[in-house]
């Protein structure tokens, strides 16, 4: 009987919800891609502690991020991979009456290797399908021609 009451008490103790004091901290992490820029004056002097403003492609007028360069004129940011933000990210750096702005092509949060294609030079999916079908028929027709039986 004693053993029964022991196990019963144990089960009740485990099953009963307890009040948890949510006053702790939690850190999560994930790997991401970052872009580092370095700003310099014409004479090569780094623009240290210069004002930085980052504009995302989805909103040309509103700053996406603001910050300051370090002592070497460097600034690092991690562009998001939103579909709306595929394209040129513009980075503006200002200090002491001098400023510059540069565009960085980014796709899916990473530096685009090639320049973004102009919309006028790209093919739509339908055009690609037609071209593929035409090529396929070319190959098929050629194969059939050479496989015909001689009479």
């Amino acid at each position: 009987m004693t053993r029964f009451y022991f196990w019963l008490t144990l089960v009740i103790a485990i099953a009963t919800p307890k009040q948890v004091l949510a006053h702790g901290a939690n850190i999560e992490y994930q790997e991401t891609t970052a872009i580092t820029i370095q700003a310099k004056y014409d004479d090569g002097t780094p623009m240290a502690d210069a004002q930085v403003v980052v504009y995302a492609p989805s909103d040309l007028a509103s700053p996406w991020l603001k910050g300051t360069t370090d002592k070497s004129g460097r600034f690092t940011f991690a562009p998001n991979a939103d579909e709306d933000n595929v394209g040129n990210w513009d980075i503006k750096v200002r200090q002491s009456g001098h400023g510059d702005i540069t565009s960085i092509p980014i796709e899916k949060g990473k530096l685009a290797v090639n320049n973004m294609p102009a919309s006028s030079a790209g093919y739509t999916p339908s055009q690609k399908l037609v071209m593929a079908a035409a090529m396929g028929w070319g190959f098929l027709g050629t194969a059939l021609f050479f496989s015909r039986k001689s009479k």
Partner: protein, 279 residues
């Protein structure tokens, strides 16, 4: 063979049909209405002109008028930022759209409106919605109808130092074309929407001529600037009324070179730099 012929006809017919559908869809896209808004071109001498300043050699300079004669001003919309390099011309700007502002040259006074005035509106036009992030403009010799006939720029004002006052009227005839990237300032400019007008600005940095006492003397700005003292030394009865031909003969060669380089380097877009086109 009949099967092959049938297959051939089927693929050919499909290709023709798909192509015509694509062209119809493309035509539908092209036919979409183009939205327009207003784009203004302003010129700005900044607080240096509106409120005066102290030159690198401690002359307190104030302007009554700063006339410039502008022409052939074009704003461009580029897909990525245009960063002008030495040797670039306006043909170097790879643009998707552009808009011109002036049919005829216009003389503007950068000192107009007082100490708290806004930049001076030169022209406002309709422009396709978009982001206009490059600019080119010319300073050309004013015609006889202008207040500064025969000149590209005239500075009128007075300078005071240690109780001495020098009234100046300096005229320059230095036709120049500036090719510039995006305006650099507190806010981004040049965004045009149907309900939101945009602005492009030609900014003139007159501290490049006279220097700035609020900037360290060893700073490149002050090292490259002429200052006001060399001009004050040319005064007759407290007045300097000279054009660039006079200044060329009366200033030392080194000082005249500083002056001409500073005049040429006046053009900016906010804090953004321009290059001078040799075309």
């Amino acid at each position: 063979m009949n099967r092959v012929s049938t297959l051939f006809c089927g693929i050919t017919l499909s290709s023709v049909i798909l192509t015509s559908v694509i062209q119809r869809n493309e035509k539908k896209t092209i036919a979409a209405p183009i939205k327009e808004g207003n784009l203004a071109f302003v010129v700005n001498g900044e607080d240096f002109v509106r409120q005066g300043f102290v030159s690198k050699d401690n002359w307190e300079v104030n302007f009554d008028h700063v006339y410039i004669n502008v022409d052939d001003t074009v704003a461009y919309s580029t897909s990525s930022s245009f960063e002008p390099q030495k040797g670039d011309t306006k043909e170097s700007i790879d643009h998707q759209d552009k808009v011109s502002f002036l049919d005829t040259p216009k003389t503007a006074d950068l000192a107009e409106g007082g100490t708290d005035a806004e930049p001076i509106l030169v022209s406002k036009v309709n422009a396709t919605e978009g982001f206009y992030n490059a600019l080119s403009w010319k300073l050309i010799t004013a015609d006889s109808q202008s207040a500064i006939s025969g000149k590209t720029m005239v500075l009128i004002g007075k300078a005071v130092k240690d109780g001495e006052t020098v009234n100046f009227n300096l005229g320059f005839n230095n036709p120049t074309e500036y090719v510039c990237g995006e305006f650099i300032g507190d806010e981004r400019q040049g965004v045009v929407a149907a309900d939101t007008p945009g602005t492009v600005e030609a900014t003139f940095h007159f501290d490049h001529i006279f220097g700035d006492a609020n900037t360290p003397i060893e700073d490149a700005l002050n090292q490259d600037a002429l200052g006001f003292q060399p001009i004050a030394e040319l005064a007759s009865n407290g007045t300097v009324d000279l054009d660039d031909m006079d200044l060329a003969s009366q200033l030392s060669a080194q000082n005249y070179q500083k002056l001409t380089e500073a005049i040429a380097g006046l053009g900016h877009v906010g804090e953004g730099h321009c290059v001078i086109s040799n075309d």
